[in-house]
């Protein structure tokens, strides 16, 4: 109903206008937002929220992958609408919407997902959510109350259609990977019993076998096992529920789901399963067990969870590294295995230089060397690193300046360096003390570098870190120090690797409630999507089932135009 009038009006105007040989195809974008409403509160607002001191709106159509701006216009906020005319057709386009204050600063922004617009297309529509820059906001979607029929924006939550009654879908330890079109795929995860120490393997109230997608355009989670009729297709569930598996992108929207813990009683038991998730496959065929050429099922040689895995392009394999074995929190594994995707064969286990869990593993620029950094064993925190070579040997590499586990490692973008790794935060002892420090190392250079000011605003163990595609800034969210969850975010603003401080810490926003161990993905609309994690909810600390986003505002922009 709410859209009827506008549609009819369009029809009216078109009928009134008749055919117009000069009329251009249209990208139509409506704005909603999270911010100050017009009655003194903060919430979802149809139209533009009342951001303080907002003065102008800059609208740009960009090609973010190429760093191009195809068209840009600026309008007074009071116009309530605007047009960027005759934008060139193209692929992977994005509409950026920036709210500018009287000082010329961008105070809020939103963007469409990536889209293609070719000459055969006549109309394309989006709704975009606009939020304060460097702020957190619930990711909104339109929901309808089944009783009242009321429709409004609400925070996106997991798809509960395939659940039994009273099942809670909040989770940690899930995989969150992006498809080619920007859709985020969430795999498994579990709802932990709170209170476990930092090195303990928590008990779980439930562990999930579902795979859910999160669509950027609508904000909807969808359980992929729900078919068109609304029925559950069991074949599109993981064949056993898992938490802390690895989900490794293989290309063409295929993913390898390896290991993890399944539920035994309330305890977590490592598993050796290997499953292929094919998001392009038909309903009922999306999840299959990895098979060898003789048709038998492939399995890990060592059941493991909380391990690391990374794709090694040079031999089309996935390398699974370290983690915890079937004995539990003290069973830290000192092996790695190689899963050959061409044959389904699992090679190994091969020895690591050290037993590791909560380490990081990153395939470096040569597409074959895998740098394994830090972590802990059953007795203490590791400062060592090692490189897994393509011949499946492992060699020691430069030690960290700060031993740590539960840290994040990001390979600095190839366009900038390619063989550099920035290691951020983490726990520095088995009691859960955390560090704010970051350090940068180059593969084979013999040492990591750090310095005064190479730090986050606050210590963070198990931080969630992503790199922004345009600026190469790092967004660091959440984490914990001791027993205190962090609600804040830091923006490590990339300057230059030759500068005294290569990443300058700029204060980010703060969540209303802290969220610990959420996953983060940079969506195609530029927002950082946080899914799951532990946080307060209705007076309890639980694994949450809703999506939140951080507006890192990473525009393709030549700067803000100033209103005359």
């Amino acid at each position: 109903m709410k859209f009827k009038q506008s549609s009819l009006l369009v029809a009216l105007l078109l009928a009134a206008c008749g055919s117009d040989p000069a009329s251009a195809p249209t990208l139509a974008v409506d704005v909603y937002g999270w911010g100050p409403d017009y009655v003194g509160g903060v919430g979802f607002v149809q139209g533009l929220p009342g951001f303080a001191d907002s003065n102008g709106v800059q609208i740009s159509v960009v090609q973010p992958l190429d760093g191009k701006i195809l068209g840009s216009e600026v309008f007074p906020v009071s116009d309530s609408s605007g047009k960027v005319p005759e934008v060139s057709y193209g692929e992977n386009l994005r509409l950026d919407f920036e709210v500018i204050n009287t000082n010329g600063n961008v105070v809020a922004s939103g963007a469409s997902p990536l889209f293609d617009f070719d000459p055969d297309l006549d109309r394309l529509t989006f709704r975009i959510q606009v939020d304060a820059v460097d702020g957190f906001a619930p990711y909104g979607s339109i929901v309808k109350d089944g009783t009242t029929g009321e429709r409004r924006y609400a925070q996106s939550r997991f798809d509960y259609r395939g659940t039994t009654s009273n099942q809670w879908l909040g989770r940690i330890g899930h995989g969150a990977v992006s498809m080619a079109d920007g859709t985020i795929v969430v795999v498994g995860g579990g709802d932990p019993v709170p209170g476990a120490s930092v090195t303990a393997l928590p008990d779980f109230r439930s562990v999930n076998s579902d795979v859910q997608t999160f669509e950027i355009r609508t904000g909807y989670f969808t359980d992929i096992a729900i078919d068109a009729s609304g029925a559950v297709v069991p074949a599109d569930r993981l064949f056993q529920p898992v938490v802390w598996p690895t989900v490794t992108p293989l290309g063409d929207d295929k993913f390898l789901v390896a290991g993890g813990f399944t539920l035994q009683g309330t305890g977590a038991l490592a598993t050796d399963s290997l499953q292929i998730l094919d998001m392009k496959a038909a309903s009922g065929a999306k999840i299959t067990r990895l098979q060898k050429v003789d048709g038998s099922f492939s399995q890990l040689k060592v059941a493991r969870g909380r391990h690391q895995a990374t794709y090694r392009a040079v031999d089309n394999s996935v390398v699974v590294i370290g983690g915890l074995g079937i004995v539990g929190a003290d069973d830290v594994l000192d092996t790695f295995e190689v899963i050959k995707l061409d044959t389904g064969e699992v090679q190994g286990p091969f020895p690591l230089q050290a037993a590791r869990v909560e380490h990081t593993a990153t395939t470096m620029f040569d597409r074959s060397s895998i740098w394994v950094v830090g972590g802990r064993d059953k007795d203490g925190v590791l400062g060592t690193t090692e490189v897994i070579n393509v011949d499946n040997t492992s060699t020691v590499d430069a030690p960290l300046r700060q031993p740590r586990f539960g840290h994040a490692s990001v390979r600095v973008t190839p366009g900038i360096a390619g063989n550099l790794l920035v290691v951020v935060g983490g726990f520095t002892d088995m009691a859960g003390s955390a560090t704010a420090n970051y350090e940068v190392g180059g593969l084979g250079r013999g040492s990591f570098q750090t310095g005064t000011g190479w730090a986050l605003s606050t210590p963070r163990g198990r931080p969630t870190v992503v790199e922004l595609p345009t600026s190469n800034d790092l967004i660091v969210v959440g984490g914990r120090d001791g027993v205190t969850d962090r609600a804040s975010a830091d923006r490590l603003k990339f300057t230059n690797l030759g500068d005294n401080i290569p990443y300058v810490n700029v204060a980010g926003g703060t969540m209303t409630d802290a969220r610990y161990m959420a996953t983060a993905n940079v969506a195609s609309n530029g927002k950082v999507i946080l899914i799951g994690g532990i946080g307060p909810y209705s007076g309890e600390v639980v694994a949450v089932d809703a999506a939140m986003m951080y507006n890192a505002h990473d525009p393709v922009s030549a700067g803000v135009q100033i209103l005359e």
Partner: protein
Amino acid sequence: MIRRNQRRHPFGVGLLTLVTLVLFSLSAVAQRPTPKVFMLPTQSVNDSISSIIPERIGEQVREGIKQEGRVQLMPSYDEVRKRLDGGGHSSAAIEQAETLYTQGIGLLTAGENQKAAETFQRSVDMMEQNIADLSNYDVLADALANLSLAYFNAKFDLDARKRMKDFAHLRPTAKLDQDKYPKELLEVLADEQKKVTSAGPGKLSVTASVEGAKIFVDGVAKGVAPQTLEDIGFGTHYLVLRGPKGGVSVEKIRVKGKGKSQDFNVKLGTGSVSVSESSGDSGFYNTLLATVKTGRWGDDSKPYLKELGVQTGAEFVSWLVMYKESSTYVAIPFLHRISDGMTVQLARAEFNIELSNLRSGVSGISKSVVDAALKFPEDKAVTDVVLGPETVVIAKKDPVKTNIKQDVVVSDPYEGQPLQTPPDAPPSEEMSTWTYVAAGGAVIVAGALVAGGIYLLSDSGNSERAPGFDANISW
């Protein structure tokens, strides 16, 4: 027709003229009569699909048939009646809109907020669709205010605010009853009226393609074009131009205010598109539509179809019936030949929920209707029809006549979406019975796509493409 900064291409105009002359010559040689086809508005079985889908698909099919050019598509029933009735004012549609407005007041008073909102919305829609014939803008303004209130009471607060802003633009100094309207809406009104006041009027330069065209803004005469209007305030308004020979142009405009210049170059035709006064009983027509909507009909509909043929002069009557089958919209076209009362069922089309296959589906339907009108496929004749979500059960004309009953179980377009059920632990009052409306999103997109499709079809005869696309944003 209103165009801003329109650019004309003399070569293109010349070419168009040449092509027209050639086509005219060819048609004169061919001497083949063109069948006249009347098309009923597309219906969904028992309103099982959100009306926006069948309405817009129906519109596109109409446009598709027009574009085919091989049959003469008759105007809508309202248009036909208006033409028959001659000139006049205050169309039947406006009367109906005012009736709906009155009904809305009653529903609102009775606390039926949801129904009131729907009724007011239909009323406003109809008035806007027939804005050229609206003489009493107070009704529109009052309908907007009440629509806002109904939305608010029904907890569609976002829509409520939008409608109240529209009201503020139309009535920037009006006061509303503080006992009737909630504080929140009154504040929205006050804020928006303040915005109108602070922005001040815009500077609208209105020109027309014919001399002597009268300008009306929100129903108020503003003189004769060309004219610069400097007393139209910020916000949404209705611009109507009436040419001396009956041509009418309407546009809903958004005035920027702050003295900013906006140009409106209006092209008016010479023929009248004025809407005439309603006359006569259209009960048979409404009965026919209601019958089609049930998804079940037979020979007893023939008299209605014949009457329609008599009134419109059509040789054929076509209609499209839609229902939802699983996650697919099914559309089945029918064509009825007036002369012998025979009805044929044509190939069904299926549209996915996102309507991404809209163009091909519409094109197929349009073509099948046109082909059938040119060469009537008697082997596809049907008598009794029962439509359902699983199958379309058709009884062939001869030798068997059946009427297999099948319940129509068609879901609400918003149903079948992820259901948020409240978990026990942790407690979650707010989750309640929320249901995602992915289909709603699809409907939004679909509506836009369909509207876009109108662009497509109306422009599809153009040999030139725009050099790029326009990005239109509203906030």
